[in-house]
């Protein structure tokens, strides 16, 4: 693919970005403004906020993010392999099997250590 093939994407961005911008800016300029306490709550309807949202998060979030990265990288390897699978024959399949098998050990490890449990 050459850069010219990306022209439609560029056009889309050039149309979509101003559209989104206008949709946000225009009401704030033209719309009526009657602020009161209820309206300025973070979530205007529903639960009443009971604490600051900006507090320290439990470490489980970090664990999930780390696991996400690792399996994300795995996906990145799968992607070109899948594109060329037809020419790779049986060896390509075995080699990817080994790759995934090693990661499976890691997956079992994480599972067994209870990283998926939310305390």
């Amino acid at each position: 693919m050459t850069s010219a093939d990306y022209l439609p994407i560029l056009i889309l961005i050039l149309i979509a970005a101003p559209f989104a911008g206008i949709a946000i800016l225009l009401p704030s300029v033209l719309g009526p403004k009657n602020p009161n306490r209820m309206k300025q709550e973070a979530i205007e309807s529903g639960m009443i906020p009971f604490a600051d949202a900006r507090r320290r998060f439990p470490v489980q979030y970090y664990m999930v993010a780390v696991l996400f990265i690792i399996f994300d990288i795995e996906v990145i390897f799968l992607f070109p392999w899948a594109v060329s699978l037809n020419q790779l024959k049986i060896f390509g399949l075995i080699e990817m099997g080994v790759f995934l098998g090693i990661l499976l050990i890691g997956y079992l490890y994480v599972w067994k250590k209870g990283a998926f449990e939310w305390e």
């Binding site: 090693i102 050990i105 079992l108 490890y109």
Partner: protein, 488 residues
């Protein structure tokens, strides 16, 4: 070459990888916690198997085989053997030392086996991609191991400092790799070597690449000015890991630097030997001068190991293919001697730390009365570090210095000699404390079985290499011949 041949050539790596998987899986499957004893046993068996496989390949007269970004040649086999032995000794000593200090000992042994695997891959790499991957693999494993004591802030500091420094060093090294790739369009070391000329502006690019690459290699080898992490990391990391970082991990840095420079940049040999020569001067001088003031033995040995890195790199700086002393041979002999000597010294530090909980010089006062065997072993290792004949360390220094003199680098030789004298001062200061300073404490020191065994192996090897050096030197000159022929 069929699949079976390839599997045989890669047998050390395959055994190490399988051992690592088995240790992780067995540890997971075990219901009963046994302080990592099963894991350590499996790891030691696997390392033994890998060592046998490595030595079989080394003595089968295998000529250089390059396949799949790895070279199986005497040079890489030598460093694989070194890494496996080093990790084996560290595990042997860890069994008693780590007991009760962590709840995650199965993983600890698995990570050490993977570290040996990482070194085996890095020292065989014939491709810049594999070089980077090998070094990063080793680094990531080492960060986890250095910060293994979760409750100990020092250990956390060790891991974080090592990580921050290593991440930057790795990125800088990658930049250097990209320069070589940009100039030649190849990541294969030999192809880069053939295409990269030393003429005009390309030489400047080459020098930039050498300096950037050295950030990565020098970081592993703790050469000044890439050494800042070393004192804090050595001090804070669990002592067995410090022993590992100061020997096998350091050797990997030199091995990779040697192969990359000799194979990929043979046309710039005058430039990189000059750069390495100045790093040698800086490392020796700074390491020794700061070591003089240390009273914490782990810090002292950290600075001593920076200084030793300076002597070791003299071997590459005085590269002299075809000479009586070719330099690289000196590098290998030095690393072999240094491996057993330095691990031995750290084993004594572990024994004392286990006994008294202290790593201060004061804990060694009057050791000769409380633990004569330990004191004598320590004396042996310190004398070998100082390079006193007929111990192993002497041969390392002899071959390296001889290459420097043969290349007529007399300033370098003079600075190295002065440094050796300065170093002897602080090594002997420890000996003085052990023999001539009285201590209030009289309790005899007991040493655990695994630690004693590791101590005996290291001590005997220091003596054997010193007294019967010839077979080792023959083996090493064969290893070097091959890489010099293929590279230069």
């Amino acid at each position: 070459m069929n699949a079976l041949d390839i599997l045989q050539l890669l047998s050390p790596e395959l055994i190490l990888a399988l051992t690592g998987f088995v240790v992780v899986s067995v540890d997971l499957a075990m219901r009963r916690r046994d302080e990592g004893r099963t894991a350590a046993t499996i790891a030691l068996l696997g390392l033994g198997g890998a060592l046998v496989a490595t030595l079989l390949l080394a003595f089968a007269g295998t000529s250089t085989v390059e396949a799949f970004t790895l070279a199986i040649d005497p040079y890489s086999l030598f460093f694989k053997a070194l890494a496996i032995v080093s990790v084996g000794l560290v595990i042997l000593a860890s069994i008693s030392f780590m007991r009760g200090k962590s709840r995650y000992l199965g993983e600890y042994y698995a990570l050490l086996v993977f570290a040996a695997l990482a070194i085996s891959l890095a020292v065989s790499a014939t491709n810049l991609v594999m070089v980077y991957l090998g070094i990063e693999f080793l680094s990531i494993t080492s960060y986890i191991l250095a910060s293994y004591f979760r409750q100990d802030l020092r250990s956390q500091e060790a891991g974080v400092k090592y990580f921050l420094y290593g991440a930057v060093a790795g990125a800088v090294m990658l930049y250097g790799i990209s320069l070589l790739y940009g100039a030649t369009g190849s990541v294969d070391l030999a192809t880069v070597g053939a295409l990269f000329s030393a003429e005009g502006d390309q030489r400047l690019l080459g020098i930039a690449a050498i300096i950037l690459l050295l950030a990565g290699f020098g970081f592993k080898a703790s050469l000044v000015p890439f050494h800042q992490w070393a004192p804090d990391t050595y001090e804070g990391a669990p002592t067995p890991i410090t022993a590992f970082l100061s020997t096998a991990s350091k050797a990997a840095g030199f091995a990779v630097a040697g192969r990359v420079f000799m194979v990929a940049l043979p046309n710039l040999v005058a430039d990189w030997t000059a750069i390495l020569g100045s790093l040698a001067i800086l490392s020796m001088t700074l390491g020794n001068l700061v070591a003089l003031k240390q009273t914490n033995l782990k810090r002292l040995l950290a600075y001593s190991s920076i200084a030793q890195a300076g002597y070791i790199v003299l071997g590459l700086a005085a590269l002299n293919p075809g000479g009586d002393f070719d330099g690289v041979g000196g590098l290998l002999i030095y690393l072999l001697a240094y491996l057993f000597t330095n691990i031995g010294a750290f084993l004594v530090v572990m024994a004392i730390e286990q006994h008294s909980g202290s790593v201060d010089l004061a804990a060694y006062n009057g050791l000769i009365k409380r633990a004569p065997a330990l004191a004598l072993w320590m004396t042996l290792f310190l004398l070998s570090l100082a390079g006193i004949p007929p111990l192993a360390g002497f041969f390392g220094k002899f071959f390296v210095f001889a290459a420097v003199v043969e290349r007529n680098l007399l300033t370098l030789a003079a600075i190295a000699a002065v440094n050796a004298v300065v170093a002897a001062f602080y090594y002997l200061n420890i000996v003085r404390a052990m023999f001539f300073v009285e201590s209030e404490e009289q309790k005899p020191v007991s040493v655990a079985a695994g630690l004693s065994a590791a101590l005996a192996i290291s001590g005997i090897m220091v003596l054997v290499i010193g007294i019967a050096a010839q077979p080792f030197i023959t083996w090493i000159s064969r290893s070097v011949e091959m890489v010099l022929v293929s590279g230069m």
